[in-house]
Symmetry: C2
Subunit: 428 residues, 2 copies
């Protein structure tokens, strides 16, 4: 089942080969792929061009969570996710906080980092002098590359030599700090680093007594200094629910957050809930969720114990719930200008800057976290989840509208199970 | 811009409200959303039902990475990602390792965990006796719920009382260990925990001298005991490249991994590359990438310092590259049986079990990591990236086939820039 030159086959031939090799050549399999092709050939060609060896389009639902009051402006957030109840939970939270002042955000800083990682087998002292003498030359060699970025308010903010020989023999870094304006900046940073590394090697060959070997030159997806804070607050009494006073609710909420602060098994799931909200906006705006995820979770582990990204407190009769998260995202570059639905998302969000987007994503994360904790400390999460799940099961069984109503009424006070549902609707 | 009852509006009315409120009522905006609706109304209704407030389908490209030899069988991996060069890199790695024995995997264990988190304000000693006496009752109360899971080889494997009062006043857990067979298991675990918590509360009211308050009952997305290992290996001499001997290449590769082991700024990006491969298969098979991401990165931080998930070594003239990662994924439940392209993915993968899927995903991750490190320690990653990027830019400029060839030839030995491209193709 080895194949040479797969990437050079036409889309149809790729599919034919897959069918013959793995799918017993049944035409139904090809039909599944083809039913998702877009009728507009030019548009389909566009989507095919985003990655390699494309044979179809994977549909993820594009949903809307309205009523997000963030820093005084109301947004309808576009959310792309396969998980049911995420959009419903975000919308519910947004509504709850809308008449309590909404989400307040603060972008702490927007610094991103990239490194030339290298091995130098000589004396550290020589390297320090060498770096001091060639610092300006390194910067000059990338002046052209950063001209456009500087016009947009970004560029290289600092470069430093870092001695890491305590961690690994002969290992040093030249650390670059960047502001990448409204771009996520990966291409810009990597291009600058590769150019600077060439300059470094040439200078080192002439000026350094021992051998300097470049290991890697690459941006870091860890950006603890590209950081946003978001909070919501209200009088404790506003939190009262049927069975709980505002004070009791707030205390229980704070205890639930405290568990996520001390117990990694809980912190992981707690933060996963935050990312449910954030990633849905990340996807809808054409950003890279792997970068956002790696960054967030490494930040959650920075103290040496993996812990909650959010926190809660009561102060002077007010309840505060807040989140601090690094978010390196962009509104230009990548697929932002190319994917029609990404363009739509950015228009819907009133053409945000990258820092605006940090604020919106962090708000979506805090909203999601609030909804999850609210469910957990009150009725449990299964009630809501299973209601959504029931919907999926009904779709799966191709239920009629009458059957849907029958099932929804039947399960309104019972646990949803596929077996019971099939029995109710008399499906085998 | 507040709206009540948004979720109850029809899809068209949702869009009309968005247009009026945020998009100056321009019909082009609606057209962008509508052009992605599927012509088959039943199929569109299916996709709409996955989440709430859906107004369109977000296309992610569905690509194929062939030639993955994993444990003696050759697979073509379905990959869903918006990032260019991921599928190309995976395919290149797969091809490289295919004639060297391929990927060898080992599933260490498949244990998942869930907790009843609670506060008990009395003596720990009383609680220990209480738990010992009611352990069987707790299990009996969820016997019905786990009957089906037991038939499929899963179920509750253990329950334990855990004293966490050293971390938080009066805080305890009842920890459940599960095997969830081919399901990811979130619904099953949460349903069991909620039922068991009810039993716990009832028994505690009668039998315990002090107050027991349930804080939360929920699965953990952290599954260090649902773990898979994957490795590739070959004689060091097989790694020789144009400018590097096999030995020099292997040493440089190992040093690059060593940097990711000691430097969190690098480890985050290193692991992000692993997840590029894994998440693409996670999405294509209908699994939950937020759960997979949170789990992986928390595992990378378990030593107290965030570090590389993969490692490399030379032993007896052989080069070994390997990855250890927790993966809690499923091939039944969720949207696996409902999303037509997810069903296709699972068929293409020969209807894998959940453990099979762990093996395939881990292999995709190691392949991606190998490709990234290979690029980083040789030519740098921008050459490949920019070649892919050029493709995107050409699509953006609606380049003709002749223009494409002209641009590809022009940039074959030059840095790609949008400015230069526009100049070359004489666009504005």
């Amino acid at each position: 089942m080895q194949i040479n030159g797969f990437s050079k086959l036409s889309k149809k031939d790729k599919i034919n080969w897959l069918l013959k090799t793995y799918l017993y050549d049944v035409p139904e399999a090809a039909q599944i792929l083809k039913q998702y092709w877009h009728n507009d050939v030019a548009l389909q060609t566009l989507h095919d061009s985003f990655i390699e060896n494309t044979i179809s389009n994977f549909y993820l639902p594009y949903g809307i969570a309205p009523n997000f009051l963030i820093d005084g402006k109301t947004y309808a957030l576009p959310m792309v996710t396969e998980e049911s109840s995420v959009v419903a939970a975000a919308s519910k939270s947004a509504k709850f906080w809308q008449d309590k002042g909404g989400f307040k955000t603060q972008v702490i800083d927007t610094i991103k980092t990239g490194h030339i990682h290298f091995i130098y087998e000589g004396e550290t002292a020589d390297l320090i002098i060498f770096f001091r003498e060639h610092r300006a030359e390194l910067l000059a060699s990338v002046a052209d590359l950063q001209m456009n970025m500087q016009k947009r308010g970004g560029g290289i903010k600092d470069i430093n030599l870092i001695d890491r020989t305590d961690k690994l023999a002969h290992y040093y870094q030249i650390e670059f700090k960047f502001d990448t304006a409204d771009a996520m900046g990966a291409n810009f940073i990597n291009t600058v680093l590769e150019e600077a590394a060439e300059t470094l090697v040439k200078a080192a060959e002439v000026q350094l007594p021992a051998k300097l070997t470049i290991l890697m030159r690459i941006l870091s997806n860890y950006t603890p200094d590209c950081l946003v804070k978001v909070s919501v607050s209200c009088p404790v009494s506003d939190l009262a629910q049927d069975s709980l006073s505002g004070e009791a609710y707030a205390q229980k909420f704070i205890q639930a957050v405290a568990v996520a602060k001390v117990e990694p098994y809980r912190a992981v799931t707690h933060n996963k809930g935050i990312m449910n909200g954030i990633d849905a906006v990340v996807l809808a705006t054409g950003n890279d969720f792997r970068a956002v995820e790696a960054n967030a979770h490494a930040y959650a582990a920075k103290s040496g114990v993996y812990t909650s990204l959010s926190d809660a407190k009561i102060e002077n009769g007010y309840f505060y719930f807040y989140l601090e998260i690094p978010l390196a995202v962009g509104t230009v570059g990548g697929i932002t200008a190319i994917h029609p639905l990404v363009k739509f998302s950015l228009q819907l969000l009133q053409n945000p800057s990258a820092t605006d987007l940090m604020r919106l994503m962090a708000s979506a994360g805090l909203a999601q976290n609030f909804a999850a904790l609210n469910s957990l400390i009150t009725g449990g999460i299964q009630i809501g989840h299973m209601k959504m799940h029931l919907n999926n099961l009904l779709t799966f069984l191709k239920a009629t509208e009458a059957e849907r109503q029958k099932a929804q009424s039947y399960f309104s006070d019972k646990k949803v199970s596929f077996k019971d549902l099939k029995k109710l609707l008399q499906r085998d």
